[in-house]
Amino acid sequence: MTSSDARLNRRAALGRIAALGAAAVLPRAFAAATPERLYRRIPVSGEQVPTIGMGTWRTFNVGTSESLIADRCEVLARLIEAGGTMVDSSPMYGSAEAVVGDCSARNAPPPDWFPVTKVWTSSADEGVKQIERSFALWRVETFALFQVHNLVGWRHHLPLLREMQQEGRIRYVGITTSHGRRHDELEDLMRSEPLDFVQLTYNLADRDAEERLLPIARDRGIAVIANRPFRRGALILRLAGHPLPAWAAEIGCDTVPQFLLKFIISHPDITCAIPATSRVDHMVENMQAMLAPLPDREMRGRMIEWLEAA
């Protein structure tokens, strides 16, 4: 069952996944024919990005501990192996930017590497320093996407980010919010500012964005990143004792996290979801949600009903 309304682009499964023994990690039903990976277009450019990326709040904030950094590098390696390219971080996340920078250097990022970070300060001067620090920590010359974190100081930062976009140091500019906060202000900004991306909370339980923000994103050609896909894990815990409905198998979902992710990325106006994890097995599990098929509109309705009954 595939979604007819989703503006999905599919790329044939790349050799990389086969080389990594994908059959071993894919669900049994998928072993015979590797399902397609799902990509979405960034409206402003037409560039395609994988529908699952990775967040780094808490999970990659491990300081300088060599063993924990090595663990996280393994997590990042699995993201890349499974075709993921987008990693989202922020100066707010402690050492996460440094750890991602270290791991991406060790893992040799793919050609379509999509580094995403944020500026998070109300001061214009501090913003300039923070942005330069992020380039150094990530060890990149160009950021795919730079966002204003939680709308903080956007009046200072958006013009600067656009300038840097003109210079080619940043490819896309965006703004973020989460937990359903400040949606009115975000809505105003989406209408008045030329944004390439917004990041907001959208998941099976938090669907406020469907009403106004996602339609505006569609109308204005803004790509949307869904953060907190699992409500920071709370949704997975809440649903832990509830077996998935039999029809979840029709969309290739073996587990609750995959079910939750497929719901998010099957929304036609969502570009990608960025679950965070500190674990290799969870990364492997999550990346399988990036494989076709996706639920259609009718099944999405059933997914909501299932959550509400659980």
Binding site: W57, R58, T59, N61, V62, G63, T64, S65, S67, L68, P91, M92, Y93, G94, S95, R232, G233, A234, L237, S278
Partner: protein, 217 residues
């Protein structure tokens, strides 16, 4: 659920915190022994009511608080949490207050009961806290020790204060930190940070009950 909600606002995990303490301990090794020896001298001074040691005690504690503020928080912990800078300055503020306490008179403990209780707490901070960490299976190199890490330093200081410093204005910072430590420690499953609050509450009750009669009127 509440635990997860609190943890949601903490940018690091208990695992990362333990690893950070491990890295920090390795970086400052073997200075831990210097601090432990100095704190032992404070206990001996309090127990034996040795005037010189008693007068030096607030300076020793000031050094511990300043070290925790500048080295533990500002240099190491700030890697994990930007708010560590604030905590660092708070610790430096308490260090300044302790210096002020040293500069403004004698601190020889008078009340026998509170002195004994205070000594027990200081000994607990010095010896039992590492023991608890050992019993809870934490690796030796990640032990949070008195003098160089906040929780055990707060605990030790509370013991010293209960023993009879007589200065109420030295209590608010340890008490505020113990509240913060309890909430974060509970949310992250990090036991060392949870210890100071219950102990400080008990100490404050004892100190209140044993306050000098003149203060009652």
């Amino acid at each position: 659920m509440l635990k997860a909600a609190v943890a949601d606002y903490i940018p690091y995990t208990g695992e990362a915190l333990r690893a950070l303490v491990g890295t920090y301990n390795a970086a400052i090794w073997p200075l831990q022994f210097g601090f432990l020896a100095a704190l032992l001298a404070v206990i001996i001074g309090t127990g034996g009511r040795v005037g010189t040691l008693c007068r030096l005690a607030p300076l020793v504690l000031a050094a511990c608080w300043a070290w925790c503020g500048l080295v533990f928080y500002q240099r190491h912990f700030a890697l994990l949490d930007w708010s560590a800078h604030h905590a660092g300055w708070l610790f430096c503020g308490q260090a300044a207050l302790l210096v002020l306490a040293a500069a403004t008179g004698t601190t020889v403990p008078q009340n026998r009961i509170t002195r004994i209780v205070g000594m027990v707490v200081m000994l607990f901070a010095l010896g039992a806290v590492p023991l608890i960490q050992w019993l809870s299976g934490l690796p030796l190199e990640t032990f949070a020790l008195a003098g160089v890490t906040p929780a055990a330093t707060v605990l030790f200081t509370a013991g010293w204060l209960a023993g009879g410093s007589g200065r109420w204005w030295l209590w608010p910072v340890p008490f505020a930190w113990s509240l913060y430590g309890f909430v974060t420690g509970w949310a992250l499953g990090y036991s060392p940070d949870m210890l100071p609050l219950p102990v400080i509450v008990i100490l404050l009750v004892i100190v209140f009950l044993r306050r000098p009669a003149a203060a009652n009127s």
